[in-house]
Symmetry: C2
Subunit: 231 residues, 2 copies
DNA sequence: ACCTGAACACCGTTCAAGT
DNA sequence: ACCTGAACACCGTTCAAGT
């Protein structure tokens, strides 16, 4: 075919369309994580999808930890740039938190990546959003750190459990309801002397709504913030 | 030596003092995790300390996940049996949470193990303690699940970050202060247009007290619970 | 019933060698 | 400058073979 000649005559493209780059690696890593779960992200699998050897990736990314943080940040960055300027700072916090919840629900691996990179860019983005809202809420300066910290810990806690549930569900090959039902069954068979309360929670466990519960927790913390302001 | 003869004549001991058992495996696993961190728990290293082959462990434990949950449960079980019957349900929750915090602070790997086994025995113990206190707090039945859930998520969030910090600190080979200082330095160099708030938190980050912040978060949630009761 | 340890099928990471 | 891919030093897990 004359295609070869044409290529030869074309202006030397600075880079092949499908050449390696940090961004392309991150994009394919996200695809892989979404499709195969956390254990699916492998330098070999990634190299396969990128049509190179595993060593090539190390030219653009220092190690697996950095890769995971970068993929996590791609998702979190996308989510946080959806600017929130609602009717009140509390509404902003709720919107920010829900946006994050939905992103993590769609990409459960973000939950564990977020936890494993404390103080890194993904967490910084979240902290900034929370902090600005807390300023608008007139939280006094010396209360800002602990309040922001509590909100972040709570969000990370939910995110982590979300990731863990997804992981267990995947390895068991069952869907959410089947998984919850089997845990609920275990709970109802617990010793009734030692675990009366958890036994009674088998029903709620099966029927609960993760998203609504998450928001309820945010509201609990915001309620506490309001209570502290009042005195 | 005649020791061999004596052994032959002795009543056949049902088990060698140092023979394998689930409990012994769990004990040594805890030693290993405390000494070497999360990545130090290996079937080979464990077998080494137990003076057997890696295969032997599988007779007593199904897989690594079960082993980690069992070691986690050993610590959590110990912590939760320190019965709390303080002056008020709120005091009980605070005592329970602080007991857990201190245990996780002493054994950071418990944090990630806890997150990775949702609905399993370790989490059940915590839920039971929290739930009973919430009943005593007169939290109405339909609010018990989300409230308990929020408290657990917050605790797991702090626990997970604690584990992550310990892991990063270990791989970097730096102590807590050095680690915090380096993160704080990164924060103060962030873009001041995009991250004014996080920049201002570099100081608090360096000086904060994890334990006090943790308790402040618990109090925030309890404040929210109180606020909901009032109306 | 319980233990042994070689073997299997993977990992992340490195690095000489290529272009 | 960037890519290749074999090689290294590990993993968790299995399983025939032993006692």
């Amino acid at each position: 075919m004359s295609r070869w000649l044409m290529v030869k005559k074309a202006a030397p493209a600075p880079r092949r369309e499908d050449s390696l780059s940090r961004d392309r690696i991150v994009d394919v890593a996200i695809e892989l994580l979404d499709a195969e779960g956390e254990s699916g992200l492998t330098f070999r699998a990634l190299a396969g999808r990128l049509a190179t050897g595993p060593g090539a990736i190390y030219w653009h990314v220092a190690n697996k930890g950095e890769l995971l943080t970068a993929t996590c940040d791609a998702i979190v960055g996308r989510t946080m740039t959806i600017a929130v300027a609602g009717e009140s700072p509390e509404t902003d916090i709720r919107a920010l938190a829900l946006g994050l919840f939905d992103a993590i629900d769609a990409h459960p691996w973000v939950g564990s990546a977020l936890t494993r990179a404390p103080g890194q860019l993904p967490a910084v983005r979240i902290l900034e959003g929370l902090g600005q809202a807390l300023c608008a809420l007139d939280v006094p300066a010396e209360r800002q750190w602990p309040t922001m910290s509590a909100l972040l810990s709570y969000i990370l806690g939910v995110a982590g459990q979300n990731a863990a549930n997804a992981h267990v569900g995947r390895t068991l090959g069952t869907d959410r309801l089947a998984f919850l039902s089997s845990v609920a069954a275990t709970w109802s068979e617990l010793d009734e002397e030692a675990f009366p309360f958890v036994r009674s929670m088998a029903g709620p466990l099966r029927e609960h709504d993760d998203r609504a519960d998450f928001l309820a927790g945010i509201d609990l913390i915001l309620g506490g913030v309001r209570g502290q302001a009042t005195g």
